[in-house]
Symmetry: C2
Subunit: 427 residues, 2 copies
């Protein structure tokens, strides 16, 4: 039997319910793993072991509270927590204590989750990295901006964590760290209590080590009962979508996508090439350069007015770019997004999901950059649900993920197809 | 010359710049009006006269800071302010002090506005009223949920205020109080630091006594330079849109809309009847019963978990409705909104703006209800920019407004047409 810290959320829920082990013993196992590894990995922005143990003991003393009873979960440090600091990866918010939990945190707690700690974020969920290292190789970035969430899950410090994605901040770190990352349809998980980066793109997502866990937590956050997973009636119809960024992909990413396509076809999936309409080639710039910068310059207005000197040079440049941007440019980017979203029915015609690259390649060496968000960002602005699965390895032995994409609001089909795909591609 | 508290924001900016009067003298005039009237009107949730005067004196001592230099502005009390409490119209947040200004507040301050006070909101911007009365007749509701913003502007306590609209919370109180209300295209004004009611509908808007002031503040919040208003090259093409709720309108509202249409046609506007597609009849229920309740039950998760007993019975019922709602119902409502938005191009074909009822009638008697949001809510879920103008009076001598509506992101055309309309319909 694996150590308790290696269990999935689903396994923890079952084991605690069956009284095979207590929530407290799970939390102790996670804390012990964290104590051993955190000095090297730096996945946490704040952690209060006594508070975590107290939550677990309270759960152990009561009746089963909900679908996540006893599951330790990490919370990206741009989401408010009432009992732990919320520091946004910025010295401006050092020691900041919000009055209340973010909505998603409150929903997890109400379902019996143990809020184990705040996971490290890049500065305000942007491009300026924190100290987190990739647990597969400490000299490589874990990706960002949900750096700590991905590293903690990959390193068996906890089974699942919340992240947020504005460009590629859930799927890229998940892929770099070799775990499952999920960005739901835009606005699916309630954002009350989230510090915005760029509001029309910010999406709360999940990082875990199994698709099953992603489904479990999703049901809790949507307020639904946890249904038995929908089996895929037949082999899925998959669109192989290289995107206009294909030439920016390294060999390991191109191999992962093409190898996945070949093996899925061999396993019975219907594969067909999908070429995105020409307009889609503008999405990366629209999302990253235009919408991100414009909206960033507005949602940081208070920090810009009062604490400009404590904002990193990189983020200051983004804000200055946004402040100088003609409103018409921003509007044109929004409208490009809307126009492309209106074409998604055609893109997905007769398909269940798309298969696409998730990141340029393995996690790059060094901690000065969290990598390129291009392959994730074009889907974020399309508001479609996406998932990465850790199917391959790169030349340095680091994880390489594929990306699966479904229609807006078609998240259940994404889950079902991802299960089918994972059963066939897992090593 | 009118008293300084009766000036528009535009007049204040000009007067302060020309050194005809100081920002401090404007604030003193507003405070004096508030001292006289507030015991009857109850427009404010919090007010700190000394702090307001200090802001004004700081402005008077410095160079012109921006396009709103010296303008007192009221902030609906669901928007964070660093130097005044933010109480959300709820005992749960009594004395609550956010760490920072909401983005829109910071943008106003940076442009030289004086944040005069927090205006009273219904409980969490919902349907449970606060103590605010209609300044035209204290026995009548001012409307809600931006009750204090509308009452304060109408009663010459300040020239302009921020509001928020989830159903009809900017336009209805503006119409009931006889002032100009503006809800921009969804997501135009940055929502960082807003307490959400229902995130996919919540829109920050403005209440003022002139279209010119609305344009001035809009330019500041969008980060643009304040351009000279675009003149309408020719008489606008107006669609008379009674909507499927027409039968719920009282005589004064039907008269206002039809009289406005007739006079505009006489003045040279092209008028044509617009019948909304059948599906649009479902928008009121989708917005009010479904999306509002579902999202409310999520974004209030923290308060529901820890302070349920301090939530009003009315709001508890909404939250319970949302918690029990099948996710599929919520999704269907979202999709109805999306489908109707996709038909807007047809609705607006060859038209500049629509002319529609704004509220059922005059402000109803009594303060126990803020009135019906139907006529405003169907446009909120369509994400279109809307404006109400105080063109008529009802049988009790209370104001009756008309509503003008433009395409998404076509707010500048809405402004231009509203000016044209106002010049022809003002008494």
């Amino acid at each position: 039997m694996p150590s308790l810290n290696e269990l999935s959320a689903t396994e923890i829920v079952r084991g605690v319910a069956a009284q095979k082990f207590t929530a407290e013993s799970v939390v102790r196992a996670c804390l012990s793993r964290i104590a051993a590894r955190e000095p090297a990995v730096h996945a946490f922005a704040s952690l209060d072991p006594e508070l975590a143990l107290k939550q677990a003991r309270d759960l152990d003393r009561g009746t089963i509270r909900g679908a996540l009873h006893g599951v330790p979960i990490g919370i990206k440090d741009v989401l408010d927590t009432a009992d732990l600091p919320t520091e946004m990866g910025s010295p401006i918010y050092r020691g900041h204590r919000p009055a209340r939990d973010a909505a998603c945190v409150a929903l997890l707690r109400a379902a019996g989750a143990v809020i184990l700690g705040k996971t490290l974020t890049t500065e305000f969920a942007g491009m300026e990295p924190g100290a987190t290292a990739n647990p597969h190789n400490l000299a490589h970035t874990p990706g960002g901006s949900s750096s700590g969430s991905a590293a903690a899950v990959a390193d068996f410090m906890l089974p699942a964590a919340l992240g947020t994605q504005t460009g590629g901040s859930v799927l890229r770190p998940a892929a770099y760290c070799g775990v499952v990352g999920y960005k739901p349809t835009y606005n699916a998980f309630n954002r009350a209590g989230l510090k915005f980066a760029a509001e029309s793109l910010d999406t709360i997502g999940l990082i875990a080590r199994s698709i099953e866990d992603i489904e479990l937590i999703t049901a809790v956050l949507l307020g639904g009962r946890v249904a038995a997973p929908a089996p895929v009636a037949q082999a899925p119809r998959v669109g192989l979508c290289r995107t206009s960024l294909w030439d920016t992909a390294q060999a390991e990413t191109r191999h992962a996508v093409e190898d996945a396509a070949a093996r899925l076809a061999k396993a019975g999936a219907t594969l067909r090439e999908v070429t995105l309409p020409v307009a889609f080639a503008g999405l990366r710039t629209a999302a990253r350069d235009t919408i991100n910068s414009y909206e960033r310059s507005k949602c940081m207005a208070a920090e810009w007015a009062s604490n400009r000197e404590r904002i990193s040079e990189r983020l200051r440049a983004t804000i200055e770019h946004g402040l100088a941007m003609p409103y018409a440019d921003y509007l044109a980017a929004l409208e490009l997004g809307e126009n492309c979203r209106a074409q998604l029915d055609d893109v997905f015609k007769d398909l269940d999901v798309l298969l696409a690259p998730c990141a340029n390649g393995e996690a790059p060496a060094g901690l000065a950059s969290t990598g390129d968000p291009g392959f994730q960002a074009i889907w974020t602005i399309l508001y479609v649900p996406t998932m990465t699965l850790p199917t391959h390895r790169g030349p340095n032995g680091l994880p390489v993920g594929i990306q699966l994409i479904a229609r807006p609001h078609d998240d259940p089909r994404l889950f079902a197809c991802a299960r089918w795909v994972w059963e066939r591609l897992r090593a």
